[in-house]
C-alpha cells in the first residue's frame, strides 16, 4: 500500500510538472464554457446535453496527450528499469498511472459542474440526465485512459503513442458509420463497439447496464493489455 500510494503521488506530480495537463485543462474549459454559453443563449433550455457531447469529443482528443508519455517516457529515460526492478507488481504500476490520469481528468470534468450550478441558480434543470451524463463521461474517460496506457506501454516514443491512441479512439468513435455498410448480424456487433453509440444514452439521460458493462469491460481490457505490455520483455 505504501508503495502504491507513493506511485500515485509520483504520477500525479509528474502530470502536473509538465505543461500538458494545464494546457489540456485550460483548452477544455474554454471550449466547454463557450459551447455552454452559446447553446444556453440560443436554446434557452436548462440542459447540459450539448456540453456532455462536446466534453466527450474533447476527451477523445485530449486523453492521448495525457497518456502518451506515461510509459513511453519512462521506457526511453530508463526509469522504467527502476520501477520494474522494485518490489512492486506491474499491475500496481499500471493502476497508479490509471488512478493519477483519472484523477486529473475527473478534476477537469468536475470544473464543468459550475454550469450545473448556474442552471440550478436560474432554473430547475432535470437532474437525471446531468447525473447520467457525468457518469457517462467518467466511464468514457476510464476506457480511453486504459487504452491509451496500453498503447503507451508498447512503445518508447511519445508521439507514436499519441498518434496510435488517437487512431484507435477515432475508429472506435466513428465505427457506427461503417457498421451500416456491413451485412446483417455483424453490423450490430460492430455497432456495439462504437464509443459514440455507447455514450449517447448516458448524455441523454438513459442508463443501460449493457453500456455500463461495455465501458467497464473496455477499461479492464485496456488495463490488462497495459500490464501485458509491461510484462513482455
Amino acid at each position: 500500500m505504501t508503495a502504491f500510494l507513493a506511485l500515485v503521488a509520483k504520477e500525479l506530480r509528474a502530470l502536473f510538472v509538465s505543461p500538458i495537463a494545464y494546457a489540456v485543462i485550460a483548452v477544455f474549459l474554454v471550449l466547454n464554457g463557450y459551447g455552454f454559453a452559446v447553446t444556453l443563449i440560443a436554446t434557452k433550455q436548462a440542459t447540459l446535453v450539448n456540453v456532455f457531447f462536446q466534453a466527450a469529443v474533447q476527451l477523445v482528443l485530449f486523453v492521448p496527450l495525457v497518456t502518451m508519455r506515461q510509459f513511453a517516457e519512462e521506457r526511453r529515460g530508463g526509469t522504467l528499469e527502476l520501477l520494474l526492478t522494485s518490489p512492486v507488481r506491474e499491475g500496481d504500476i499500471v493502476l497508479a498511472k490509471f488512478a493519477a490520469s483519472m484523477g486529473m481528468l475527473l478534476a477537469m470534468v468536475a470544473l464543468t459542474l459550475v454550469y450545473s450550478a448556474i442552471l440550478a441558480r436560474f432554473s430547475t434543470p432535470d437532474w437525471g440526465p446531468i447525473y447520467s451524463g457525468y457518469l457517462g463521461l467518467t466511464l468514457l474517460a476510464g476506457a480511453l485512459v486504459s487504452i491509451g496506457l496500453a498503447v503507451s506501454a508498447l512503445t518508447a516514443n511519445q508521439v507514436v503513442a499519441a498518434v496510435v491512441s488517437l487512431g484507435v479512439f477515432g475508429m472506435l468513435w466513428a465505427i457506427d458509420a461503417w457498421a451500416a455498410l456491413l451485412p446483417s448480424p455483424i453490423d450490430n456487433w460492430v455497432l456495439g463497439l462504437s464509443l459514440l453509440a455507447r455514450f449517447q444514452p448516458f448524455a441523454l439521460g438513459a442508463m443501460y447496464a449493457s453500456d455500463f458493462g461495455f465501458f467497464l469491460a473496455v477499461t479492464l481490457l485496456g488495463l490488462f493489455l497495459a500490464v501485458r505490455g509491461l510484462a513482455r520483455r
Binding site: T2, A3, L5, A6, L7, A9, K10, R13, A14, V17, G77, G78, T79, E81, L82, L83, L84, T85, S86, P87, V88, R89, R233
Partner: protein, 345 residues
C-alpha cells in the same frame, strides 16, 4: 531440461523446497551459511533471434564482490537486467536468496539494490524527494525510511544537494544519487552496472570503500570497464565474451601485482636484509643480479597499502633506493589473452 546431467543443483531446481509465496520465509536451502545469494544457472537471453547471453552460470556468495568483465556488447548489462528482474530469462534460472526471479519475482526483487547503467533518474524530482520515493517503493516508511535516507545521503556525500533538482545535477552527482537509491534498505545483493562512470577520483575511492562496507553483510555484483578498478574491489571476476562465460577468475587480493625494486650498496646488503625481515606486509624477496656495485632485491608486496610503507621505511633508513614497479596484472593479461584468442576465430 532433456539431456542435461542431473547434478545436485539441478535436483534443487526441479523440486525447490518452496515456502508459500508472500510469507517472507526464505526457502530452506538459503538458510545454510555462506550460501549463494545469487545463483545464475545456464542463463540464456535472446533478443528476437539474437542470442545475447548463452548458457551462463555463476554464483555470488555472501560477503563477496563478483565482477563481470567483458568487451562492449558481451552481455553484461543483459545479465544484470535478468538478475534484477527487468528482463525475463529465455533459458535457465536465476535465484536470489533462494527465490526464483520469475516465479517469486517480488521476493527476489525485494532483496536487490540496483544501480542501472547510465543512472536513470526522474529529472524533475529533487534528490531527497527521489530517495523518499524509492524508499517507499521498497516498502520503507516512518523511522526506517528516514534512517535509510539519512545513511544513504551520508554514505554518498549527498547532503549538499538534497534540495537540488536531479535534472540539473552533474553526471557524477547523478551517479551518486543512483547508488544512494540502491542502498536505501541494505539489500542482500547489490547490483551495479558501471558505477564508476562519471565519478571523480575521490568518489571512485570512496565507492570502493563503500562496496567493501556493504560486502560485509551483503553480496555485490558489479561491472566495470576499468580492469584495475575491478582488481581492487572484486574477489572473483567472471569474464564474458559474446554472451558466453569464458572463466571465473579468483583474484588473489588487493595489492597483487605491485612489487618494489630495492637497490643498495653491496656492502650494506646485510642491513637491507635485516630491515626487510623486520617489515610487515612483504610477500617474498628475491635477490637480483648485482649491477655496478649495487645489490638488488625484488620485493613482492602482499597486502594493500604496504608498498608505500615498505618503500618509506627503507628510504628513511637511508640504506637503499626504492622503485615501485607496477607489474602487468594477472587479470589484464588474462583478459587480453582470452578476448584476443576468441576474436581471431
Amino acid at each position: 531440461m532433456t539431456g542435461s546431467t542431473p547434478t545436485v543443483d539441478r535436483h534443487l531446481t526441479d523440486r525447490p523446497p518452496r515456502a508459500p509465496a508472500g510469507l517472507g520465509i526464505a526457502p530452506a536451502e538459503s538458510s545454510r551459511h555462506g550460501i549463494a545469494v545469487a545463483s545464475v544457472e545456464r542463463l540464456g537471453k535472446r533478443y528476437g533471434r539474437r542470442q545475447a547471453v548463452d548458457g551462463v552460470s555463476f554464483e555470488v556468495k555472501e560477503r563477496e564482490v563478483v565482477g563481470l568483465l567483458g568487451p562492449n556488447g558481451s552481455g553484461k548489462t543483459t545479465i544484470l537486467r535478468v538478475i534484477t528482474g527487468y528482463l525475463r530469462p529465455s533459458e535457465g534460472t536465476v535465484r536470489i536468496d533462494g527465490f526464483d526471479v520469475v516465479r517469486d519475482g517480488h521476493q527476489a526483487r525485494a532483496r536487490i539494490g540496483y544501480v542501472p547503467e547510465n543512472a536513470p533518474l526522474y529529472g524533475h524530482m529533487r534528490v531527497d524527494e527521489f530517495l523518499h520515493f524509492m524508499g517507499r517503493l521498497r516498502g520503507l516508511r516512518g523511522g526506517a525510511l528516514r534512517r535509510g535516507i539519512e545513511s544513504a545521503r551520508a554514505r554518498l556525500a549527498l547532503e549538499p544537494v538534497g534540495d537540488a533538482v536531479i535534472g540539473r545535477l552533474s553526471r557524477g552527482y547523478r551517479q551518486r544519487v543512483s547508488i544512494a537509491q540502491a542502498v536505501l534498505n541494505e539489500p542482500k545483493l547489490l547490483v551495479l552496472d558501471e558505477p564508476t562512470n562519471g565519478l571523480d577520483p575521490r568518489q571512485v575511492i570512496e565507492l570502493r570503500g563503500l562496496l567493501r562496507t556493504l560486502a560485509r553483510d551483503s553480496a555485490v555484483l558489479i561491472t566495470s570497464h576499468v580492469l584495475a578498478e575491478m582488481e581492487r574491489v572484486a574477489d572473483r571476476v567472471a569474464i564474458l565474451l559474446d554472451g558466453r562465460l569464458l572463466t571465473v577468475h579468483q583474484l588473489a587480493g588487493a595489492g597483487r601485482g605491485t612489487s618494489l625494486r630495492v637497490r643498495a650498496r653491496a656492502d650494506r646488503a646485510d642491513e637491507v636484509a635485516v630491515a626487510l625481515s623486520g617489515l610487515a606486509g612483504i610477500g617474498g624477496v628475491t635477490r637480483e643480479e648485482p649491477e655496478g656495485g649495487l645489490a638488488g632485491w625484488r620485493v613482492e608486496v602482499s597486502e594493500a597499502g604496504a608498498a608505500p610503507r615498505v618503500a618509506a621505511a627503507l628510504c628513511l633508513a637511508g640504506i637503499a633506493s626504492v622503485e615501485t614497479v607496477e607489474t602487468a596484472s594477472d587479470l589484464e593479461e588474462l583478459f587480453l589473452r582470452l578476448t584476443a584468442s576468441r576474436a581471431l576465430q
